[in-house]
């Protein structure tokens, strides 16, 4: 925009007002697209295990670099068969929960024996996220959708994710945010088919601990949730034991040379 300034026949307008006037002339208002997230949740981790899907995350929501909210539930049950975990802009996650509420309510009102399973909800969310991205007004989230539903061939486990640009896929283990870099390598190495609940929780806690140490926006208060054919259970928050007694942390200025 700056380069065109000397090109313009009439001087005196700066870029900002010119774009506003152009939009006003076009009959529209100032662009309402989401530019940045404000209150954000950090990583969500999930993996399939023997009875269904386990999902975990911390209960923090940051306002920039401030750890502003410390008791936020970022995993919720959806319908009878699924769990959703959200990282990113928390208000957008709440909006998505409202959409899913409407969806599952009208599905429930049919009362015809059919119900929306995790695959259907994942597909629906993908359409919503992708459509918003195409309007340059994304829901600034990475969502993890996991669930179990009885099918003709028995209990079918499902785990997938969709993000703000509409990228979506299914996997045996999912992580968002920093989890992509810190947790996924652990999950790839240590996940196996049909883990017991205890093994799955241990693996998830291993990932959460790494994230607690290394992700600045995570807090030491976690919630684990599971979904099985019996339904969803979201456990109360708890903390992990951390260790900071490394010798290097004692007397940290030992090797530093300085005059003040």
């Amino acid at each position: 925009m700056e380069e065109q300034k000397w090109d313009q026949p009439m001087g005196g307008f700066n870029a900002a007002s010119r774009s506003q006037m152009a939009e006003a002339a076009a009959g529209g208002e100032e662009s309402q697209r989401t530019l940045y997230p404000y209150v954000t949740g950090t990583s969500v981790i999930a993996l399939k295990y023997k009875d269904g899907v386990i999902m975990a995350c911390d209960t923090g929501a940051s306002y920039g670099s401030t750890l502003r909210y410390k008791s936020v539930e970022r995993i919720k049950a959806v319908g009878k068969h699924s769990l959703i975990g959200g990282s990113g802009e928390f208000s957008d996650f709440q909006e998505i929960l409202r959409y899913l509420d409407e969806l599952t309510l009208s599905d429930h009102m049919w009362d015809d024996g059919n119900s929306l399973g995790p695959k259907e909800i994942h597909s629906y969310l993908t359409r919503v996220m992708y459509n918003r991205r195409n309007k340059f007004d994304p829901l600034w989230n990475a969502l993890v959708l996991g669930g179990v539903k009885m099918g003709p061939k028995g209990a079918e486990k499902y785990l997938g994710m969709v993000n703000m640009i509409g990228t979506h896929f299914e996997e045996n283990h999912i992580a968002t945010g920093f989890g992509n870099h810190l947790a996924i390598p652990i999950l790839r190495a240590e996940w196996s088919e049909d883990m017991t609940f205890e093994e799955a929780v241990k693996l998830v806690e291993k990932c959460l601990l790494v994230l607690l140490y290394r992700d600045r926006s995570s807090i030491n208060k976690f919630q684990v949730a599971k979904i099985t054919t019996e339904g969803a259970t979201i456990y109360p928050p708890y903390s992990l034991k951390t260790f900071w007694g490394f010798s290097h942390f004692e007397n940290p200025a030992q090797g530093a040379v300085g005059s003040w």
């Binding site: 695959k119 629906y124 099918g151």
Partner: protein, 268 residues
């Protein structure tokens, strides 16, 4: 039927509380050639008697695949039926696009019924002149619905529509109570027998009937909605006739009489 002063348009009630135009539309269904539908817990079958405008022409297409898991057979104004089939296909595709899963049959039937109802309450429209048997499979099993021009729809174990359908209904009434446990082959045979009742003496061959089936096998795999090919139909017809010529075996004919006492869900 009778002409009277309340039947000029669909938005006029008669003093008895009838909408004559809608009833006349339902008459159009009775003019079409017969269709039957029947279902077990896991499979649904549709069959139609083919009628050709003349010996030179091909016969009217009456059975339409709507989605992998559902199809319709129609009787009445075929042009209306074609347009409604297109609507049903569109609804199924739109649902699959958003949810990546098949539209449950009851919800499909409801959308069709709501569309038909609109035409019974607008002065510038006329009711659709076609009755549809909607057969399909969803997570609660196999289903069969009848959608009529009035916008009403009901679920059925077995039903028949079109001209001379009463003969088929009488046949089905005697046997429908066992259909839940029938194998797909037994369902097809009964569908063919029901169609045969409507042909009134004319010989049943694979060229004057169409049969389609949709269902789920015992191992959980789905058999998508498909018209059974003519050669296979002829084989089944031949095997049925061979069985008829043989002396009636007691196992096939037992307990048929007991079904008549139960309430018939098909009277409309």
């Amino acid at each position: 039927m009778f002409r009277n002063q309340y039947d000029t348009d669909v938005t006029t009630w008669s003093p008895q509380g009838r909408l004559f135009q809608v009833e006349y539309a339902m008459e159009a269904v009775k003019q079409g050639s017969a269709c039957v539908g029947l279902r077990s817990r896991t499979h649904a079958v549709l069959a139609a008697a083919n009628k050709a405008a003349s010996e030179l022409s091909s016969h009217q297409r009456k059975v339409f695949r709507v989605a992998e898991h559902a199809g319709v057979a129609l009787a009445g104004l075929t042009a209306d039926g074609r347009v409604l089939s297109r609507f049903l296909r569109s609804e199924c595709i739109n649902h699959s696009f958003v949810y990546e899963s098949p539209l449950p049959v009851s919800r499909l039937a409801l959308r069709l019924a709501d569309k038909a109802q609109v035409c019974t309450q607008r002065s510038w429209k006329r009711p659709y002149g076609v009755g549809l048997l909607v057969a399909g499979l969803d997570e609660t099993g196999a289903h069969l619905y009848y959608n009529c021009p009035s916008g009403n729809y009901f679920e059925y174990q077995a039903f028949a529509i079109g001209s001379r359908s009463q003969a088929a209904k009488t046949f089905l009434e005697r046997r429908f109570e066992k259909y839940n446990d029938y194998t797909p082959e037994q369902l097809v045979k009964d569908a063919l027998s029901a169609i045969k009742e409507t042909l009134q003496g004319e010989k049943l061959t694979s060229s004057n009937c169409t049969v389609a089936i949709v269902g789920r096998k015992d191992d959980g795999t789905m058999e998508p909605f498909e018209t059974i090919d003519a050669k296979r139909i002829q084989e089944i017809i031949d095997s049925m006739e061979a069985a008829e010529e043989a002396p009636a075996e007691p196992s096939a004919m037992q307990q048929e009489e007991e079904g008549t006492d139960a309430a018939a869900p098909m009277d409309i």
